[in-house]
């Protein structure tokens, strides 16, 4: 038993060490990709986000007479159909058809010649090769569809992931400073203030070395522009108060393509700002269909189902 324990404990330690190394490696690799992509994507997203947000507002205004889950369903169906058509015209349908036929043929061969060891091995190899080919043919349409799909999901996210604060509801606003911002041990050298606003019924703030947190109580409904002052520097952030379904911008950050992609509703903070980000902790939308995180599942299930149902109609193979 001692030997088993020794083996298990050392194996466990080895797995944990490997996992830590993988995480460190992945983080390092991502930081390189991020550094390489950021100068280009950040500029592209800064141009695209306002357009996409306006388009999103228009689409959701059209869907507004319907219950939210119907709007989500219609949008998912439309996305599924568009993605299907995009796939139809950007993929090599003939090659995909051949790869699928090869897969079917080899599966059939595996069933028919299961007693023939040599045939079985050959079929398995061919099967793997056909699957690899199929994956390769999928790559191009996938990369074509990825950008518009991400932009669409970002627009859906700012509407389905968080909801506006209700009047009287409390939450926190967190303002983070950049590493370069001048601070003492505990507080910024310049006092940071959040100006009174009709959207704020109460403000209680506590500064810290790297960030200041305000607990706010939502005031009157509407889209409010909050003003933060840090010495001579003035920063704005949108606050949404209301009971209706509408988009909210949870975070406003400095230029970074990842943050810009996920939070497209507000322009980036100025590059020379001492503020790194301002985040409003909006509550999650509470719904099993269109609420936080579930909307994404609903979207994929409905859009995939749509694509599968309409696949024969448009004669698409995948």
């Amino acid at each position: 038993m001692d030997a088993v324990n020794w083996l298990l404990l050392n194996a466990g330690d080895a797995v944990l060490a490997t996992w830590s190394a993988v995480k460190v490696g992945a983080a390092w690799a991502w930081s390189i990709v991020d550094t390489l992509l950021d100068p280009l994507l950040s500029v592209v997203l800064a141009c695209l986000n306002p357009l996409c947000t306006k388009l999103g507002d228009l689409v959701y205004a059209i869907l507004s007479p319907f219950p939210i889950w119907i709007g989500l369903t219609l949008l998912s169906v439309a996305a599924g159909l568009i993605a299907l058509l995009a796939f139809r015209y950007t993929s090599n349908q003939t090659a995909i058809g051949r790869a699928k036929d090869d897969i079917k043929a080899n599966l059939l061969a595996l069933k028919l010649f299961k007693d023939e060891l040599g045939v079985t091995f050959r079929c398995q190899l061919r099967l793997l090769w056909a699957i690899a080919r199929l994956q390769r043919y999928m790559l191009f349409p996938f990369f074509v569809m990825l950008p518009p799909m991400l932009l669409l999901l970002a627009q859906m996210g700012i509407r389905h992931q968080w909801r506006p604060l209700q009047p009287g509801e409390q939450t926190n606003i967190e303002l983070r400073l950049t590493d370069e911002a001048p601070t003492t041990d505990t507080t910024p050298t310049e006092p940071i203030t959040l100006q009174p606003n009709p959207g704020l019924a109460e403000i209680v703030g506590v500064p810290g070395a790297d960030r200041t947190v305000w607990r706010i109580t939502a005031g009157s409904p509407g889209r409010h522009i909050l003003q933060f002052h840090l010495g001579a520097e003035s920063i704005e952030k949108e606050l949404v108060v209301g009971t209706e379904f509408q988009r909210v911008s949870a975070i406003r950050t400095r230029h970074n393509w990842g943050a810009q992609l996920l939070h497209p509703a507000e322009p980036c903070l100025p590059a020379d700002a001492t503020v790194a980000s301002i985040q409003i902790l909006y509550p999650h939308v509470d719904s099993w269909i269109h609420g936080a995180n579930w909307w994404l599942l609903s979207f994929f299930v409905i859009s995939m189902a749509t694509a599968l149902i309409f696949k024969p109609l448009f004669n698409v193979r995948f």
Partner: protein, 681 residues
């Protein structure tokens, strides 16, 4: 698939969904299948105060019940303590039938080692030892015993008979039923109340952090920890549950980072990615905490989820932060089972969010330890009541026939701290203040009257409504140290001993010369040969010793006013019957109103004086002679039994459904006259 086929499939699926939905909505209504019986249990609601307030027109709804149905004092148990009384309500039996005789029992095999009477945690004694851990493998072929908590209340609860008869039962916050008893037939839903521990395993351990606490200090009900601020930031450690998988169990911890505003009276507290900003005097909402139980490296660590609220009592000159006992998380209770069926708790939490799950919700210890002011306690107790009223609304909304029982602790735990109905000197407050706070009890009764009114309005005559309490209340002005008295009269030896069990108090008792000892709030045990480990009293000496003790106890007078202190001394073999009588105290001391066993008596300690003033904020009590603090019973149906008692409640409920009363229950329906319920034999 052809396009037409695809469209046909969609249409057929939609049609099937619509038809299925219609079928569900057209299901026969089950609302009226079972008679409705609604029982509202107000712990400690006092009949005298009720009567005074009804006469003054301040309890209109209860007064209406008094006039249309009935109102009577409800005979309580001896001792009139909540776990004992509610266990008798549950089983319809006297304490000899359910085995709960006090909050605290003793194990005679270990002479007088005390333990909580209603539940017992049995640690795992076997498991797979690997590295620094011991993992119980509960599956075949190992079948190790995991650490588990067992319900020690004996007897059969009345709801088992209803469950068997297929009658739905909904029980909320019931005391003396933790862990909740199982429903064999699936018709019972129960949320356990008094007796449910916090995550630290006790009955409420607060954690208090302050800059004016010089060093860590443990006290009954909590622990005080020092805080040191460096540049307005301090680090604190919140202690969580023990990791019982470790061979040497150690507490888990969560780190708190506290930032104090440099100039304003506010602070922010950060832990596990959460940030709470509070102004001085503010309470936070419920906060979730995750305590990680470290496992061997080849297994994933386990997480235990808990909830707490933070109270920023003061920011300057000293920062004082109170953290409630860490309650079991109702949305993620893990292995902690506090409801039957186990998923009932998450169903409630899905709808209501987080709420107190520990049995003692009002933190009276924080007030007794002078950590809370009266206002702090009142605000915390008020929050508890608000939560319970929300839970009550949930209970009513989900009730569709059968039995509904709902328990309120506020009438007990607010009364313990705020009740004072005389002009005598209050233990801690000037008389004016005492009167002011007694008014909060009066106001609370008015709120409870509204609860009754809402229930009556909702059900009218469609339901049998029973409003009851387990005991009444009285001032607790003077405390009697039973063990000191026994020592001074030679029943406990040596004459200089200070405690039965705690060596830190001073000299311990010599059991070879000790004939009797006190433990718990009313219990007096003889040191019997063959029962106690070091017993010296032989059975043939028992009667004489009981007679002698009874005579002497009844003769004791308070030197302050020459009034008798003890109203009655009960013999357990006379007032109890049932399978558990042998484990009961031999005698039960029934004090006069105004008196109670001293704090030190309960755990076997001795004080300097036999009788002294109560100096605690716990200024009212009910652990006196049973006939001095009856409870209440109101009903919208005529109360026909002449002297209803707690043990009658279970038979009353069973009778409402035509379920025969089992022989283990000794009472009879209070809605039938005594003549009718007499048995032919």
């Amino acid at each position: 698939m052809k396009p037409l086929q695809a469209l046909t499939t969609i249409m057929l699926s939609l049609t099937a969904i619509i038809i299925a939905g219609s079928a569900v909505s057209c299901r026969p209504d089950e609302v009226d299948r079972y008679p409705k019986v609604v029982v509202l249990g107000f712990d400690g609601m006092d009949p005298k105060l009720c009567e005074r307030m009804m006469d003054a027109g301040k309890l209109p709804n209860l007064d209406k019940l008094r006039k249309t149905g009935g109102f009577k004092p409800l005979g309580t148990t001896m001792p009139p303590q909540s776990p004992v009384a509610w266990a008798s309500f549950i089983t319809g039996a006297n304490p000899g039938g359910h085995g709960i005789f006090d909050f605290i029992h003793r194990n005679p095999e270990e002479q007088c080692m005390p333990f909580y009477a209603a539940a017992e945690t049995v640690p795992s004694d076997d498991g797979w030892e690997v590295g620094e851990h011991r993992i119980p493998l509960t599956f075949w072929p190992f079948q190790h015993n995991p650490t588990q908590t067992l319900l020690r209340r004996g007897g059969t609860p009345f709801w088992d008979y209803l469950d068997q008869a297929g009658i739905p039962v909904w029980i909320y916050d019931i005391p003396a039923n933790y862990p909740p008893s199982k429903s064999e037939h699936g018709h019972m839903h129960c949320l356990a109340g008094m007796g449910v521990p916090d995550l630290l395993g006790g009955y409420g351990t607060y954690q208090f952090f302050s800059t004016d606490t010089p060093s860590l200090k443990r006290e009954p009900g909590g622990v005080r920890k020092p805080l040191i601020f460096i540049n307005d930031t301090a680090i604190a450690t919140l202690t969580g549950p023990e990791n019982s998988y470790l061979l040497k169990p150690a507490s888990t911890e969560v780190r708190l980072q506290i930032h104090r505003h440099p100039t304003d009276r506010s602070a922010r507290i950060e832990f596990q990615g959460n940030t709470v900003v509070l102004k001085e005097g503010e309470w936070s909402k419920w906060q979730k905490l995750s305590f990680e139980l470290e496992m061997p490296s080849f297994l994933p660590n386990e997480d235990v989820s808990g909830i707490c609220r933070l109270f920023l009592q003061q920011v300057r000159p000293e920062l004082r932060l109170y953290v409630t006992p860490i309650n079991i998380d109702p949305s993620d209770p893990g292995e902690q089972n506090i409801t039957e069926p186990p998923e009932f708790i998450t169903d409630i939490a899905d709808e209501l969010g987080l709420f107190y799950t520990a049995g003692f919700q009002e933190d009276h210890k924080a007030l007794s330890n002078k950590l809370f002011t009266d206002t702090d306690y009142h605000s915390q107790a008020d929050y508890v009541l608000k939560e319970r009223l929300t839970l009550r609304n949930y209970a009513l909304d989900h009730y569709d026939g059968g039995l509904l029982f709902f328990y309120f602790s506020s009438t007990d735990l607010q009364a313990h701290m705020f009740w004072w109905d005389s002009d005598e000197k209050h233990p801690t407050r000037p008389l004016e203040e005492a009167k002011k706070y007694h008014q909060t009890v009066v106001d609370l009764y008015t709120q409870m009257d509204d609860v009754v009114g809402e229930t009556v309005d909702r059900f009218g005559d469609d339901a049998t409504i029973l409003v009851m309490s387990d005991h009444g209340f009285c001032n607790f002005r003077r405390q009697f140290n039973l063990n000191t008295w026994l020592r001074d009269n030679g029943y406990v030896q040596p004459s200089n001993c200070k405690s039965l069990i705690n060596p830190r108090r001073g000299a311990l008792v010599n059991w070879a010369e000790t004939k009797a000892y006190g433990l718990g709030l009313n219990g007096l045990y003889l040191n019997m040969v063959g029962r106690e480990r070091d017993g010296i009293v032989y059975p043939h000496e028992r009667e004489a010793l009981i007679g002698e003790l009874t005579q002497k106890l009844l003769a004791i007078r308070d030197p302050q006013n020459n009034q008798p202190i003890i109203a009655k001394v009960y013999r357990s073999d006379e007032i109890y019957s049932g399978p558990f009588v042998a484990t009961a105290p031999d005698l039960l001391v029934g004090y006069h109103r105004g008196y109670r066993a001293s704090w030190s008596t309960t755990l076997g300690d001795m004080a300097r004086n036999v009788i002294s003033d109560n100096s605690s904020a716990w200024s009212a009590d009910h652990c006196v002679a049973a006939d001095q603090v009856p409870g209440v019973i109101f009903s919208n149906k005529p109360l026909l039994k002449r002297e209803p008692a707690l043990v009658d409640m279970a038979p009353t409920i069973l009778d409402a459904y035509g379920v025969p009363r089992p022989d283990t229950m000794e009472g009879a329906s209070i809605l039938k006259s005594d003549a009718v319920t007499l048995r032919p034999d």
